[in-house]
Structure formats: structure tokens, C-alpha cells
Subunit: 171 residues, 2 copies
């Protein structure tokens, strides 16, 4: 079976396991918070943090970047009523392993001139130190005019350890 | 217990349930694909699509926007070896309910002048029609110089129905 066929087939059992109340959850997150975390394949944020269906927005991108998540967070807070943000980065993150110059060299080599040109001004948001990056993201949210006051007061930052499955609070 | 205490407490049972092989998964996704989907609280992509820990990058943002996900997808493909992208948007998405002008008016009203100024040039990427938005995102990826050829050839687009838990393929 192809990858996509596998996803569709797994979805058949999932959909038949959903309860009526799960199928009629409202659009706004029931627990009024958003989690920003990494796209990393070893993270399972809902299970790792006990987030039930309908509870929270989960935003994921390379590195769990708050800056990259700002569009989503603004929509989450201004249109869908969330008031708390939890930032979760993790050990052994890919973002610790390269610089903007590195990835741009890879792009130019693998994808050619048009891609090199397209990525010229881009910031891929790598970071050299994990806990500092958590602190910087929390500071970014606290100082953004687009983050609501309640979220500024309550924003917290965690590190998830892929080697143990545990989170530890940084901010 | 506070929201954050609850997350930490749930994490304790999760971490103790992780197997040794789950704790030693490698950084690059084992099945070499990435899913782009929405931050919506009613979506549980890993369970809904049978994605096991370590299989795939999962990128989530408001609307499951491929454009917003491009930085993450480039890192995923160029540095971590993924070759397939699956875009999954969903019914009853918040992005169907507003325009850029609407959210900018809300931002100005709720957050004041600095925020209004900060969001002036921003595109919040709302869409008026769901299946068209899936097709447009797939087209965006197929025409981006930053997407690798294998991913261009295999990109697919789905709608997840929050009312049934089922996915249906659009592209």
C-alpha cells in the first residue's frame, strides 16, 4: 500500500472510534490555550501533555518558533478566544545543527538558482542553544504588540527531552 | 491545579509509558514525509491518520497553510530527508469565517494602535472556500522553487471532516 493509502486506511478505524460528543465539539478551544511546538517526528504533543480533543490549538513548525507562529497565535487569541501560550522546544532539535548560511548553501546545491534566489532574504530561524531559544521565544511573545495581555502574563516555556519523554520548565 | 501543572502531571505518566525504542528514535522522520494541517483543537492528526512516533514531520498552523509552512517544509526536505507532503485542511475551519480586513479591525479594537500598525502589511491567509484552498495550496507547493521534485510529484491534498472524523482526498 502507498503511504497515502495507509493514512486513509488508518483514518477509517479512527473515524469509527470517535464518539458523538467528539464529533460535535465547538470550534473555539475548550481550555483556551495554545501550544507552540516543533514539527519533529519524535514529538506527540497531545499524548505527551495530556491534551484532549477540543482542548487547545497546537501549532507546530520547525523548531517550535514563536515568531513563525505569530500569525496563528494572533488568530487563536483575537478570533478564537485563547488566552494562554505554552512554548515547548526539545532536545536534539534539528534547529541546533545548522546556520542560515548552511541551509542556503544546501538549497543552492540541491535546488539550483531560482531556489537560491527565493531563499536569499529568508530567516530559517535556527538556534545555537536550546534553553536560550526557549527564553528568547517567551521574551518575543511578551514584547509583541500582537499578543494579548493575559497571554503575556501567563506564557511559559518548556524543554521536552526526546530521550526520556519528560518536559522541564525553563520559563 | 493550574493548566500548566496539569500538562506537567499528564507528562509524568506519558514519559513512564514510553518504550526504550521510542526514546531512541533518530531525528529524521522514518517514513520521510511531512503533513501540513491546521492548529484546530478538534484535529488529532497522529491518531486520525495513524502516524506513529518517529514517522513524519507534522506542521500545524492556522488553516493548515502550505505557504505559512514553507520555511518548515524546506528544512524538512533539505536537511531531514522528507520527500512527500500531505496537506490536510478541515471542515468548519475558522479561516472560512473572516477576511484580512475583519481581523485587522479586531486587532485595532482589542490591542490598540501599535498592534494595528504591526499587522498592517500582514496576510492572515484566510480562505473563502475549503476545497479550492486545498487545491491552491497543492498548486503553491508544485510551483515553488523551494519544494523538491519528488515532493512536487507526490503532494496530495485532503479535507478532514470534523463532523465525522473522516478524510477525503481532493488532490
Amino acid at each position: 500500500m502507498s503511504l497515502v493509502d495507509n493514512l486513509v486506511s488508518a483514518n477509517e478505524s479512527y473515524s469509527s472510534s470517535l464518539s458523538d460528543s467528539e464529533k460535535s465539539l465547538p470550534l473555539p478551544p475548550g481550555k483556551k490555550y495554545a501550544v507552540v511546538t516543533c514539527m519533529d517526528a519524535r514529538l506527540h504533543p497531545a499524548k505527551a501533555l495530556g491534551i484532549n480533543l477540543g482542548d487547545a490549538h497546537i501549532i507546530r513548525n520547525a523548531g517550535g518558533s514563536a515568531q513563525d507562529a505569530l500569525r496563528s497565535l494572533t488568530i487563536s487569541q483575537q478570533l478564537l478566544g485563547t488566552e494562554v501560550v505554552v512554548v515547548v522546544k526539545h532536545t536534539d532539535c534539528g534547529m541546533l545543527t545548522f546556520t542560515n548560511a548552511d541551509i542556503k548553501a544546501v538549497i543552492a546545491r540541491n535546488l539550483g538558482e531560482d531556489a537560491a534566489h527565493e531563499s536569499e532574504g529568508a530567516d530559517y530561524l535556527p538556534f545555537p542553544e536550546l534553553e536560550d531559544a526557549v527564553r528568547e521565544d517567551v521574551q518575543f511573545l511578551k514584547s509583541s504588540p500582537l499578543v494579548c495581555d493575559k497571554a503575556k502574563q501567563s506564557v511559559s516555556g518548556f524543554v521536552y527531552e526526546v530521550e526520556t519523554g519528560r518536559v522541564r520548565r525553563v520559563v
